[in-house]
């Protein structure tokens, strides 16, 4: 069944929900922000590793268990609820998927156990401009004697300021915009010629611009087929979009529940403001959108595990619906809280700031609507 969790997945969900609620509440993000940590949080990384959360989609590896993307989706939803900054999306989902789908036997043997144990974290270095456009890759990888030389700049790399390793999307042939000619590379973040400019982002999770200046990568660093890296990249980006959608669902739920609580406690004109029909109807509409988005996210997660042929379509559906949902709910969360919603001490602003980052990651609603139309031949 697509929409019903197995007993194991249910337990994983409960564990993740309890963990983020107790160990990574909103006050945790706030504290990290206030001390200028910019998403660096080695303590949390250690706890996530102990819980085995890095190995959720990695079977048959020491420390790894197999709950599928459905299982990982439950954890991402849980971290979305408290806006927690963790390396799970970049490492446990994106890097694990890329290495599973494109990695050689040797690469899989080297990296999957390290990912599963939480020993090594990754970041996908993809965007070169302010908008998601996965084929617009100009960063150049030129063949040299023993491997490749990388030159170029990746911008707004999520986790790029914190990860141990980078998966770099570079061009080995053709021009920016071409599907053919893309190749993926695994590059240590501290490799010679890599410069990381740390970015302070609105959501306090941080990111980085990463510059590659004559960075030498050996043959062993090529991930997947040369020139046809898009064959690996595209399914990885679908999974990433689904993962972010699960996280956005969690954020939306939490922001909605907080808003509902406020509607049921705040009084004006001697009435609970939640008794005013204009607010009731907006709350009810948000709830229907949330129920529909939950169906899309669940269907997309399950489609990956089942190896369905409509993963791309469902990924775009889930990402677009969840982006619209978190946009709506975070805005309404601020508005329905009134003046207090505008203050830094209250939480609605945190949800709205994180929402915009989540929306932009791996394509916003309009990007995925366009893709959905293309996939449906119109």
């Amino acid at each position: 069944m697509t929409f019903v969790l197995t007993e194991d997945q249910e337990m994983l969900r409960d564990t993740a929900m309890a963990f983020t609620r107790d160990e990574l509440p909103l006050t945790h993000l706030r504290a990290l922000r206030d001390k200028g940590a910019n998403g660096h949080d080695p303590e949390t990384r250690k706890k996530l590793a102990e819980l085995g959360f890095f190995g959720v989609i990695i079977p048959d590896e020491p420390g790894g268990e197999h709950f599928g993307l459905v299982g990982l989706g439950q954890i991402l939803e849980a971290q979305g609820r408290t806006l927690a900054a963790t390396p799970l999306l970049q490492t446990a989902l994106i890097a694990a998927s890329a290495i599973q789908l494109g990695g050689s036997k040797a690469q899989q043997a080297e990296w999957l156990p390290k990912i599963a144990m939480g020993e090594t974290t990754f970041a996908l270095a993809l965007d070169e401009s302010a908008h998601f456009a996965p084929l617009n890759v100009a960063t150049e990888a030129e063949r040299n004697g023993q491997g490749y030389t990388l030159n170029g700049m990746k911008r707004f790399v999520p986790g790029g300021h914190d990860a141990d390793m980078l998966i770099v999307v570079a061009r080995t042939f053709g021009e920016a915009g071409d599907r053919h000619g893309i190749t993926l590379f695994i590059v240590p973040r501290d490799a010679k010629g890599v410069t990381v400019q740390e970015l302070k982002t609105v959501d306090s999770h941080g990111a980085a611009h990463v510059t590659f200046d004559d960075v030498i990568v050996g043959e062993g660093g090529v991930l997947g087929p040369v020139d046809e890296g898009a064959d690996v990249l595209e399914p990885v980006l679908d999974r990433a979009a689904i993962g972010v959608a699960a996280e956005m669902l969690g954020s939306s739920m939490a922001a909605f529940e907080m808003t509902l609580e406020y509607l049921q406690s705040r009084k004006q004109f001697g009435q609970l403001i939640g008794s005013f029909q204009s607010l009731q109807h907006r709350a009810a509409k948000m709830f229907t959108e949330m129920e529909m988005t939950r169906s899309c996210v669940a269907a997309a997660l399950a489609a990956v595990d089942e190896g369905s042929s409509d993963v791309a379509e469902l990924a775009s559906l889930a990402k677009a619906k969840a982006s619209e949902l978190v946009h709506l709910v975070s805005n309404e969360c601020v508005q329905m809280h009134g003046g207090i919603g505008m203050t830094d001490v209250a939480d609605p602003g945190l949800f709205m700031k994180r929402a915009r980052v989540q929306e932009a990651l791996y394509g916003g609603a309009s990007w995925h609507r366009d893709r959905y139309a293309r996939l449906n031949n119109f």
């Binding site: 509902l260 009810a284 959905y372």
Partner: protein, 404 residues
């Protein structure tokens, strides 16, 4: 002895397949034509004679109501057997043998609230399509505020006497019987309502069709003047009708959202994206040339997909025994929005081709889309307005309080 469910179902599938092969007439395996939809009852004309044969055979098996008990004429099938039956029906593209408010709304309520004698008396004729039922709910002064209904029902000792008026009674002019909400106590509101059944041929009943903006008349105004009703035709207890009414509304909202206002499927109307490609044109990459329209069509298609996945999720979770409360209102609200958006986009994509009313010179399917567009405006009004459904969600699901 071990009971092998799978083997048992396989045997049932084989039997079912053989029976359908032998009993489903050829024209009943072709797409439904709007003019050949069978609603049953005494007014049914069966323009296609094979649809009469098909209804008789399906009714005899009880397969128009597969999961109702055989004692009341139903198929007596388990959920799993019914699933197999529906799969086999889809496999041969069989038309539904019967469209019926009795099957979708009244029957399920009677199974729950009726007494043994009432179930035995009324359910078998619903299954066989012999009696067509209509729903006496709304009144001129009681629409969204349904419990404000005023149609009087007085106890005259050996019978009830009914006086009043109903409105928006679907197909009252074609129905044989009516299930009706009436007021048995004027001193209280919800607690003064009863649920009663009577013959539309009774002296004092008059139904007048209402002409809609779409040019069709699916609804009537229905008048009751000193209508005598035997006392054994009241369902449940006197003044206990509101509970039945609400439950029946859930069946109604669910049947509307399950069908998604989709009509009978035989209208030949294409999707908005197809009409846009034809009438607006495409760019070099095959995309609809008007980017704004294309985006809105994509948005609508995604909403529809999300809606269908939600119906599927609800079904699966219910099967797994997980409580999915009050989804009827969410789905009714969503179904209305979806069908209205679809029709607006159809009309927009068709352009001037959508502005025909009747006669020659316009594409026939396009004219059906135009009528459908006008009719769809009722979707957010009938069976509980969208606003009422939002109220239900706000109050019963989210727990928001009433204004004090």
């Amino acid at each position: 002895m071990a009971y092998d469910v799978t083997e048992d179902l396989d045997a049932f599938r084989a039997e079912t397949r053989n029976w359908l092969e032998a009993n489903c007439p050829p024209s009943m395996r072709t797409p439904m034509k709007d003019s050949e939809v069978v609603w049953g009852g005494k007014s049914e004309k069966f323009p296609n004679p094979e649809s009469k044969i098909w209804l008789e055979r399906m009714g005899e098996k009880g397969w128009t109501a597969p999961e109702w008990p055989a004692a009341y004429g139903g198929g007596g099938l388990t959920k799993e057997q019914n699933r197999v039956l529906q799969e086999e029906l889809r496999r041969i593209k069989a038309r539904p043998a019967l469209f019926s408010f009795g099957l979708w709304m009244f029957g399920p309520a009677l199974l729950e609230f009726g007494n043994e004698e009432q179930k035995k008396r009324f359910l078998p004729d619903i299954v066989k399509g012999k009696t067509r039922w209509c729903q006496g709910y709304s009144e001129p002064g009681a629409g969204s505020d349904l419990a404000g209904l005023q149609t009087r029902c007085e106890d005259k000792g050996d019978h009830y006497l009914i006086n009043g008026q109903k409105v928006w009674t679907s197909y009252a002019d074609k129905a044989d019987w009516i299930f009706c909400l009436v007021r048995t106590d004027t001193s209280v509101k919800h607690e003064g309502i009863s649920f009663i059944l009577f013959d539309m041929k009774s002296p004092g009943v008059e139904a007048r069709p209402i002409l809609l903006i779409s040019g069709e008349s699916p609804f009537c105004e229905t008048f009751f003047t000193d209508v005598k009703v035997p006392k054994d035709q009241l369902v449940g207890r006197v003044n206990g009708g509101w509970e039945i009414a609400k439950r029946l509304l859930q069946f109604e909202r669910s049947s509307i959202s399950a069908g998604g206002f989709g009509g009978t499927g035989g209208s030949g109307i294409l999707g908005p994206e197809e009409y846009a490609k034809i009438h607006v044109g495409t760019d070099g990459e095959g995309r609809i040339a008007d980017g704004d329209l294309r985006g809105r069509i994509a948005d609508h298609k995604m909403y529809s997909k999300a809606f269908n996945l939600t119906v599927q999720r609800q079904t699966e979770q219910a099967k797994a025994g997980q409580q999915v409360g009050h989804t009827a209102s969410i789905l009714k609200y969503g179904a209305a929005k979806m069908n209205q958006d679809r029709h607006e986009l159809l009309i927009e994509a068709l352009g001037s081709e959508a502005l025909g009313w009747e006669g020659e010179g316009f594409d026939k399917s396009a004219m059906r889309a135009t009528r459908g567009w006008l009719r769809s405006k009722g979707n957010s009004i009938e069976g509980g307005t969208s606003e009422i459904n939002l109220n239900v969600i706000a109050k019963r699901v989210l727990g928001l309080k009433d204004h004090q």
